[in-house]
Subunit: 330 residues, 2 copies
């Protein structure tokens, strides 16, 4: 007990972070916004922080987890609708040919998303997604996808929660999908998940019980400028801190940074091929279609004083399951 | 001090409520959902309560306050766009002819809403609405509209807050309009206001600063079935308590009531022409186009065990400014 108490110093609130400018930016932001005597003091009710999810809170490579879900749901959908079996793109997905699947067009992918994410009741969708998350495994780590979350970001979330910050996920991913696990995995309740959202349709079952069906109409494309529009729609005030990792988060960081007082703007650079993945193409990293961090975004970050987090250098530990980093220390 | 402490018994948490089935329903609901030993115990993180606004939390007669705002904003809009001066429906509004204004069609009203609620930045709108709310007066009571809130409902909100319930406004009114005052008036922060919402458009000012413009595209028509769709979109879980006063709240109460365990469903009946207004047409009250409580809704309430609150009989005090009811008591 006493050892634990002794190690609970300010620095230990972020034990997976190496000492350096990224960790310092977080500590400075917190100190200046929660100190009543600071000119940048923020009232507790105004403390809002937003986080992109894919590539910011959990792994997004080689493919967004929700896309994996949709592809793996195809057999189940076809079992209920056998007429799709020989129709593209479902036929290709059922073939299991990874190369052919990787070549599917955006339009094909949209057809798969619509077939696997809409047309069912909200409860049915939640049950399916929950079941999948409990059984599916990422092939590289052979672990549930929900374990592939970044330990340093969990520490930031906790640090924010402990200081009365309300944390939101603002994701290009499906709002309903992320809500299935966000409370358990991040401690973020459904109402604090803002994501790409389709409409729902209210109706009555035969017994008179009302239900909602997920429909294909897009209400909010929560990417790029859509993230700012989503923040206005769902939160209604400007965040004081924003975390992202790709060009899809640019406007969200700009919007956050344009507010008065101290604002924290951070971008995670995936430059650690050993512990996770390395992609960019900022800083000469390999180009990618999933979570692009362009040289232009890097330049904007430098110019505007946003903090770039190097996974390789700023994080002593990446995942919660590699406990070495914290446990090995005295 | 000791007198105050003595009167803080359970019953006094709702001092403006007369003893009767409505007050009892609220007390019973609370007891059964916060008692860990109750089969209907609700975990604190799941405690969600939703309130319609117009006619449920504040006065909606003879005209929705937001419509008054839009009509009174017309001169300001025309000052910036003189070409509208002789165009209908703006011409009629500028004439000040109340009878002619009352005869405007829904299409005319929509034109006025679009002209006064969209086309400006989010900040400009907030500043305009705030300014109006500070100066406008309801003609009957000669008070700011934000004072025409129901004391008994403020007590319910507080009672819920004190027991870890998260309260949401779910209103057919404009989300952005209600957010301007909800925190100050009800203690409900912007992110807990769900309302009819239009899109916004992200852009950059000449100095590179990002801004959002309110546009006329309707994202969510938060009325009738739209209230349930709005609850799913913005909250993502089913409420345990729902308060409304008109057919526009029917589906929200049905949705709330269809959940497992104990759920509180309440409808306010405006049957007090002396202290407020009497309209229905349930229970033989005069028919109305603003906040219709139909006989069919009354029947459904009775059949499903929803509680109808009689303003006349269940409320000892209607407004916070008539302090007699609480202060006169021993």
């Amino acid at each position: 007990m006493s050892t634990r108490a002794q190690t609970a110093t300010t620095n230990d609130l972020l034990p997976s972070w190496s000492d350096g400018p990224a960790k310092q930016a977080i500590l400075d932001f917190m100190r200046t916004t929660i100190d009543r005597l600071s000119p940048s003091y923020v009232l507790p009710e105004d403390r809002i922080a937003v986080f992109d999810q894919d590539g910011t809170l959990w792994v997004e490579h080689p493919m967004y987890t929700q896309v994996v879900y949709c592809l793996e749901r195809v057999p189940g959908v076809v079992a209920n609708k056998p007429e799709l079996r020989n129709v593209e793109p479902f036929k290709t997905v059922l073939s299991g040919n990874r190369e052919a699947i990787a070549r599917l067009s955006m339009r094909d992918l949209e057809k798969i998303l619509v077939a696997t994410l809409t047309g069912m009741s909200v409860e049915e969708f939640n049950a399916e997604a929950k079941k999948w998350l409990e059984t599916a495994r990422d092939p590289r780590w052979n672990r549930p996808y929900t374990e592939l979350v970044y330990q340093p970001m969990l520490e930031v979330l906790r640090y924010l929660h402990e200081n009365a910050y309300k944390t939101y996920i603002v994701t290009g991913g499906g709002q309903d999908f992320v809500r299935v696990y966000a409370e358990k995995v991040y401690g973020i309740p459904p109402e604090q998940v803002v994501g790409t959202a389709g409409g729902t349709k209210f109706g009555y079952a035969k017994d008179g019980k009302p239900f909602l069906t997920k429909d294909a109409k897009l209400l909010l494309n929560d990417n790029n400028a859509g993230k700012v529009e989503g923040i206005h729609l769902m939160i209604g005030r400007r965040p004081y801190a924003a975390f992202g990792n790709s060009t899809g988060d640019r406007q969200m960081l700009e919007w956050t940074g344009a507010g008065a007082g101290t604002r924290l703007k951070m971008l995670l650079l995936h430059d650690d091929a050993v512990r996770e993945y390395a992609y960019g193409p900022a800083q000469g990293l390999p180009d990618t279609k999933v979570g692009t961090f362009t040289p232009a975004l890097y330049d904007e970050a430098r110019k505007k004083g946003w903090t770039v987090i190097s996974m390789k250098n700023d994080w002593r530990q990446v995942f919660p399951f590699e406990n070495q980093a914290t446990e090995a220390r005295p």
